[in-house]
Symmetry: D2
Subunit: 343 residues, 4 copies
Amino acid sequence: MKKVKVGVIGMGRIGKIHFGNLKHQINDAEVVAISDPFYQDPTEFPNLSPEELIQHPEIEAVIICSPTDTHAAYISMCAEAGKHIFCEKPHDLSISRVIETLKEVNAAGVELMLGFNRRFDPNFQKIRSLVQEGKIGDVHLLKITSRDPAPPSLAYLKSSGGMFLDMTIHDFDMARYIMGKEVVEVFAKAGAFVSDDVKEAGDIDTAVITLKFDDGSMAVIDNCRKAVYGYDQRLEVFGSKGMAKVDNNKPDTHILYNDLGAHGALPLNFFMERYTMSYQIELNRFIEAVLQKKPMPVSGVDGLKAMMIALAAKQSVVINRPVAIVEFSEDKIDQLIPEQIIS
Amino acid sequence: MKKVKVGVIGMGRIGKIHFGNLKHQINDAEVVAISDPFYQDPTEFPNLSPEELIQHPEIEAVIICSPTDTHAAYISMCAEAGKHIFCEKPHDLSISRVIETLKEVNAAGVELMLGFNRRFDPNFQKIRSLVQEGKIGDVHLLKITSRDPAPPSLAYLKSSGGMFLDMTIHDFDMARYIMGKEVVEVFAKAGAFVSDDVKEAGDIDTAVITLKFDDGSMAVIDNCRKAVYGYDQRLEVFGSKGMAKVDNNKPDTHILYNDLGAHGALPLNFFMERYTMSYQIELNRFIEAVLQKKPMPVSGVDGLKAMMIALAAKQSVVINRPVAIVEFSEDKIDQLIPEQIIS
Amino acid sequence: MKKVKVGVIGMGRIGKIHFGNLKHQINDAEVVAISDPFYQDPTEFPNLSPEELIQHPEIEAVIICSPTDTHAAYISMCAEAGKHIFCEKPHDLSISRVIETLKEVNAAGVELMLGFNRRFDPNFQKIRSLVQEGKIGDVHLLKITSRDPAPPSLAYLKSSGGMFLDMTIHDFDMARYIMGKEVVEVFAKAGAFVSDDVKEAGDIDTAVITLKFDDGSMAVIDNCRKAVYGYDQRLEVFGSKGMAKVDNNKPDTHILYNDLGAHGALPLNFFMERYTMSYQIELNRFIEAVLQKKPMPVSGVDGLKAMMIALAAKQSVVINRPVAIVEFSEDKIDQLIPEQIIS
Amino acid sequence: MKKVKVGVIGMGRIGKIHFGNLKHQINDAEVVAISDPFYQDPTEFPNLSPEELIQHPEIEAVIICSPTDTHAAYISMCAEAGKHIFCEKPHDLSISRVIETLKEVNAAGVELMLGFNRRFDPNFQKIRSLVQEGKIGDVHLLKITSRDPAPPSLAYLKSSGGMFLDMTIHDFDMARYIMGKEVVEVFAKAGAFVSDDVKEAGDIDTAVITLKFDDGSMAVIDNCRKAVYGYDQRLEVFGSKGMAKVDNNKPDTHILYNDLGAHGALPLNFFMERYTMSYQIELNRFIEAVLQKKPMPVSGVDGLKAMMIALAAKQSVVINRPVAIVEFSEDKIDQLIPEQIIS
């Protein structure tokens, strides 16, 4: 049976996850080459420059895991070379650059999938299934808790685009994914409570964000860059027929009862452990979509929309009032994006 | 040992709870009379008019459980008659009337306790203890979920003052109680999703409210008038040293596993079952404070402050922006309240 | 409405529970007198001798909470005086004495209820309901865990009749109650692991008991006199259609997550807290049965049967092999008990 | 770095699990050949006869996953050929045949590991760690629940050696592993309640087994061949310092609350899903032990001892009394096993 031949650009933390899954877990893919100037480990695959990899005649699909500021350029190259693209989030920190490259991808007729891996997590997928099967009825409220165990380095923070574009963007995408509706307004309150690095980077580390969807229903997201008890990833939906929630995954199910109390394990920590399964399923679904010429499970426009929510949240904190997404799309975006992309 | 002699005005749903507790659970109180023109059950106690009850020479303390629009008048009478007061929430729907009666109470030197019973719930008290013992560290975020099993009648809704003053006011008080800080700003998003009666009453039934405290920390409250699975009362605090949460109480702990899944009990439904214990402790603490001349565990100013948050939330929904509490106190309140009350 | 007039003999720990419930929680009962030579607290009720109380012309029902070695004598007196009887377990430590007094009770036409309070616990009642509604299908196995927080005093141990007659007897009754079947064989392994007092009393403190029912299905009970984490009272049923279990009740539902783990509350400790509700329901059901002339919810024969299982368990430990209940009934009991009692 | 070259005999259900792990998860192993006359899937590895595979000069270690009645023969061949052995349980159904081959293995100086994969499950390992770290204190009681979702085929049942040797043997090994003590006596009650095939095979399908350890402490195991709610694998230890238990693993953590109740997922079903991780760790530990010449984590004597407990349990059901392990070892085994094996 035919396999999709792929190249992986960027063999950092997330690149290695995808590389390992492509080698061991995904039967329909075959790694042809990697690209990472700093990658030292012995490997049976040629380590090419990004340009060489993208141009490699055998490679049909490119997995982009390099630093964010290189994403747009590699996407453009891939589009030009007619290669399908899996790109880690975020696409780019500039919304106009995102739109530009989406138009190139569109024109070239290649497929682009954004790496919102949490869509493929079994817990969140269960909640989405319950919503789609009507088990929750009309969904009035979605609640997402997303807290990291520790803030990233100052260097990372400075180039991250800020917490909303770097961290909350997963939750913004999850909100659209679970609800199956579009966000029309954002209100965010935030502060820098847990990290001096965050303050120095001019960023925030703790936030509560209220989303309003097009039918008036709501979501509330709470984030923090530092939870001493680990990686906290929970979600709840509430509607006319009921409520469903998912809790954190733990390394084991033990409870120890002694004279001091009842004691259990902390959540899996960090994303590599917590989302092991979602990364595998994600890339499998990308390869499957390429092979079977099916639509990508996460599109470039999904990435764009999450980004617009993030930018609105950012502005909401500054001006301390709700910001409508249309404020962005009217002023800056509508003239830039052809109909087929926005839909 | 001396007992506090009390009279109960209003023998409706909540009046009966307090009456029962006074008779059976509270050793230091003795019921002398009740007052309810519609009360038919046989009782060994005289059923007086409110005025007669308040003036009754033996009665030292009055438990006011009559309709909201009578509260302020009976409080004034009690103050004038030198009787201590336990009053169900809300004090009154007019903030200036509240302030006026608080000044009378103050001047008369009697004690007034507001019926925020949830402060005495073992779950919420455990969370408050953890916060006060420093187990949570600096508290960054408080989350309260409060959903009723079904909306009240249209008649009730029309005289309730709206969801924020009637239902969320418990959560506003809880936010101040758990955090031990003052709320400085409120943002509320809301809709009428679950009840035509609510729409007809011009009220809302579903809301997400973000509170900002004086140190920048935050709370988020979500409410709904109708949760088909019952009375949902949960709370979570998150801070620099950890996170703690309490779940709903259930009638039993069973889980049934069959070929369809794992099935457990729904939350206790409704407040009389869920808050049985808190009502007992609440009134015990009132009687104890009267007897031992200790400060009331919930003051009239606590009621006033929760009310100001509720009014700010109401306005926030209308103008769709955050509302500072100071907007109320500067314009309307400061000149009305003497220092000793506001503190 | 008519009330049942009662007297309470024995105002120790358990006597006070029943007395409090009779005064405050049970509308259809009225305490007329108590009897306890050592009871010092002020009370509005006359403190009579047991004989005076039982003979008191107004008293219809007697609640026997005195030491075990007095139970049989008071039951006999009550039977002679035509008074209904609620007696704390165990009835007596001598099976022939039990049978003798049951015959007297029977002949006198008075009612006798044994104080197996756990039958009225909401958790265990839920399990029994699930069994009776057929939700478990054919029940193959019942599992009971019953562990005390600490062993009783040496004095208590010496007069207790041993762990099986004193502590496990509750579980033997529960096994019959949940399964709705009779036990035909017992195998018990036991040791004295946790208490020197237990060893000195020649008793055991830790045991695993396997019961076989008349249809071949089984139960397994594990007991210990000392669980450092508190009072452990759990139960599980397993059958052809599923499994159901109940967990311990806790004082609150909190979980605290910090850098060391997730921490929750210990079980309610001890029986007065854990079984508060079951004691109330139990005595209510006794009063109701007296008033409405309905069969007692726990009969004297129920007490006798639990006792026979306990004696078989005791022998099983000694001879280290399974003991059939019929070994007791054939040798010693059948000739003593008339048909109408054994059924 | 040097890899251990292995061959896999038997590519059935369990063989495929080990084969997949050897290929993808275990860096230090390299598959050289497989052996299965019925294996049809395309593979890059030669499919040899068992004899050829065992004699293959490159192969250092053989993974035996063929039917039970071939195990002993292949173990002998491996010993003779100087190959290390990983053998699925059970070693053989004849205890004398087991002892005979263990002596051959011993004499040949090769290593043998038995496939008690549950020792490597993160839940059970956590419990063992707690025991070994002294967190439970002196362990008085171990409880194991092990229920399969459905009985195997009649054909399988007939050649399985009976439930104790086929299914409970995992629990007997787990009891020794968790407690770190030797079993000295077994009492088992059992019945055929859930399967006509089981009855036809002359086997049992439901059992309660009580174990006594050399220090008097106890374990109780309950088994059933059919739990309609899935694969039930739970364990609890109780001792002087506390109690710890592990629950089933579930595919997700969702709870759905609707008007009918609270509903969650069933346990992972069946062993391939539940014990995915334990199979990976198990074989990794075997390869590591071969490579580093360390003692095997599960020895042939561990297999022998579990088997002796199983045989004692089988006899206990027949004669309905406890059976001492020494009854087996004295009569039949001691003269057969040299000291170095029994230790």
